[in-house]
Symmetry: C2
Subunit: 427 residues, 2 copies
């Protein structure tokens, strides 16, 4: 995309309510816009990041043959009354009355709906295990929405649901999702710690959250110091060797261990094994070799629209965002520093076409704008690599490849760029 | 995807409320499920069709450098009060009060929000024309939701918005979207007639709808009989030569013309040029060579989740759906008719891998199920090509390629299939 065609409304000043750095940078870099309290639009640059994250999640789910579907945002209150969560969910649930006086709600999660769906279609244990997921907006009417998309009211969530014949099979499914989640966050360039968690409103007795360490995070986790060392092979069994939990779980468990530390963090995922809690509420029985049984169920959520904010909290400097290559909105930005030079214009256009043909997701700053503005905006939006075409190119055919994170600038020829660096830039 | 891993809950019987064929077939083929009146889940097979449609729309918008973003579903009522549509929109608007007694609503469309966004970011005519779009759920509280996803309350819509400096530039933009829409529907394998339409609630004085002819459609259009002939080159200027309009527009215009016919149809898209209606409501002014002006705006919608239903109304037979290749959930279904034969199992698996490597979106019926069930379900779900592996393969290495639409079966060798037919199957 050429920047003259791309809607990138960067801002110099942001409202004082934006307290944490990710919120400020997302507003300044033109990623998001607040429409009303806790409700945001994703502007084109932000939307591109969301789509990169969505793509990683979808690809990894497909590898495990987990079926994608799409449930609606609006639900009937009937199913929530039947599960006894309609009253207990409290004021966070956005309750709605339609024109026919029927009580609806904006789904904060989908355990009820998927259970009724399962009951409608699944008759026999032979159809299990069955895994379904969707990526859909949720609404939780937070009393104090804050920190931008980190704690928004309307947000994008990936939620998966599983049906198994018994506890043992359900535990294998739980482990499959546990490892899938480690893999997904790894593919996003995020260092994640899974921690034991309370089940809360969802129910059940086995639950983990997935946290990234972050000094400005709102959560606290208690972890064995061994976990803080870089992991060699990350899997359910590796993490089972060491203690890690949310602070809330820790306080209830009464464990004492001198190797444990409390760390600030951000929660990005949460998985639950809740057994037959919902299948029994809805009297959802299936045939099995031992007669009619309630299927064992679990649910598995990722706070998709929170991930860009968490990434920025961890990856930024005084100039702006530094995207991990895996979820950067673009792979590379070409900056023409001499828009009056035909030589530079032609060369930039040539590189732009070459990169596009190589499937590099590229932004080309072709604007007639001051060099200082171009530099500072490129640093602000945080694309990992910048290709600078200007004076050095005009005089000596030298192009400059800048690494946003380190600030290092390589002076290279066109040939070197195409042969040695292009493949490193592609995700 | 192997069918043993794919959640495809076909049904023999459907509720009597399902009156039109697309609604019945979508329920029977396991594409959708009603959650509550006018609110549907898209099951995996249906979701795949939605994604094919989404991909065509996104690709074509990208070709025209139209920026994709994502606005929220929930809006503040304030902006609708300012545009004077809060009261006039009537009971179709789903009105919500949050925990802090603030009045919200589930967006039925986004003219207000995009205008406020434009006012926030656009200062000068030099930033125009600017085109933005998103694909997002909408809610319209229909008094009688019916015909499945054809007239649902929660539905998926693509809506684009344009900002131009003056009427002339806005008219060029309108023509750009008009041609883009013809192209998009053409890429979906749909024969579309654009018709002049009333602007209704949105406002402005230039508006077109995009209809497909369908005997069971709820709309009526009035068209010059010349338009009913297959079009050679479809563009704004071609269609300008002949009369075509909605019946409502026709009745207001008082035109008399013996060449006009009334036809039943389904509306799939609607575009509006409403000028400064919203920019003036929100006092959104920008700099221009002739001083401060209100930008000229337009909006451009496609009823995304209605398209699969319209396609089925037009493309089906007594056995089930016949998808146009362009939006079929899969390109090809391999059906193993002899699951006990090692020869057939191995060959099917080999073909499955070959097709996947060739980027063919493939479904493989690997189930241990009666042949009759396999045939009838394959016909029901309507994938354009079926590759049958059974007795003829075991005996003579002959594979059968069936065309779902014509019913023709070609008896061919593996070599012929790979060399001559594979490329025709790929979309």
């Amino acid at each position: 995309m050429k920047l003259t065609n791309f809607f990138l409304p960067t801002k110099k000043e942001v409202p004082s309510e934006a307290k944490i750095v990710s919120h400020r940078l997302m507003l300044r870099a033109g990623l998001i816009r607040m429409e009303t309290s806790g409700i945001y639009s994703w502007l084109p640059l932000g939307y591109k990041v969301l789509e990169k994250i969505r793509h990683i999640i979808e690809f990894q789910h497909l590898q495990k043959n987990i079926n994608q579907m799409l449930m609606p945002t609006i639900q009937s209150s009937d199913i929530w009354i039947q599960s006894r969560r309609y009253d207990s969910y409290g004021e966070e649930m956005l309750r709605i009355t339609d024109r026919n006086q029927k009580k609806l709600l904006y789904g904060p999660t989908n355990e009820e709906m998927i259970t009724v769906l399962g009951k409608d279609y699944i008759q026999s244990y032979k159809e299990l295990p069955l895994y379904l997921y969707h990526i859909q907006n949720k609404f939780r009417d937070e009393i104090r929405p804050r920190f931008g998309v980190m704690r928004a009211r309307e947000f994008l969530m990936k939620d998966a649901y599983s049906f198994d014949i018994d506890k043992k099979s359900a535990e294998k499914t739980y482990e499959l999702f546990f490892n899938l989640y480690l893999n997904i966050f790894n593919k996003m360039g995020l260092n994640i710690i899974p921690v034991r968690a309370l089940s809360g409103e969802i129910g059940g007795d086995l639950s983990h959250e997935f946290h990234c360490l972050c000094e400005t995070g709102e959560s606290e986790i208690v972890v064995d110091t061994n976990i803080l060392e870089p992991q060699k092979s990350e899997s359910f069994s590796t993490f089972s060797n060491y203690y890690s939990s949310t602070i809330e779980y820790f306080e209830k468990s009464g464990i004492e261990n001198s190797k444990l530390k409390v760390k600030k963090s951000i929660e990005l995922g949460h998985i639950f094994l809740f057994g037959d809690k919902y299948s029994s509420s809805f009297d959802f029985k299936i045939n099995s070799p031992s007669g009619l049984i309630f299927p064992y169920m679990g649910s598995y959520g990722i706070g998709l629209s929170r991930i860009p904010a968490a990434c920025i909290e961890i990856n930024h400097d005084e100039k702006g965002i530094i995207w991990p290559q895996q979820i950067s909105p673009f792979d590379l930005i070409i900056i023409n520093l001499r828009v009056k030079s035909e030589l530079c214009v032609n060369f930039c256009n040539e590189m732009y076409d070459v990169c596009k043909n190589q499937n590099i997701d590229i932004l080309f700053d072709d604007r007639d704008e001051r060099i200082g503005v171009k530099f500072s905006e490129a640093d602000l939006i945080g694309i990992p690599f910048q290709l600078l075409i200007g004076k050095r190119f005009e005089e000596d055919s030298v192009i400059e490849l800048k690494n946003r994170k380190t600030g290092d600038v390589l002076e290279i020829t066109e040939k070197e760029f195409l042969e040695n660096y292009l493949k490193k830039i592609r995700q």
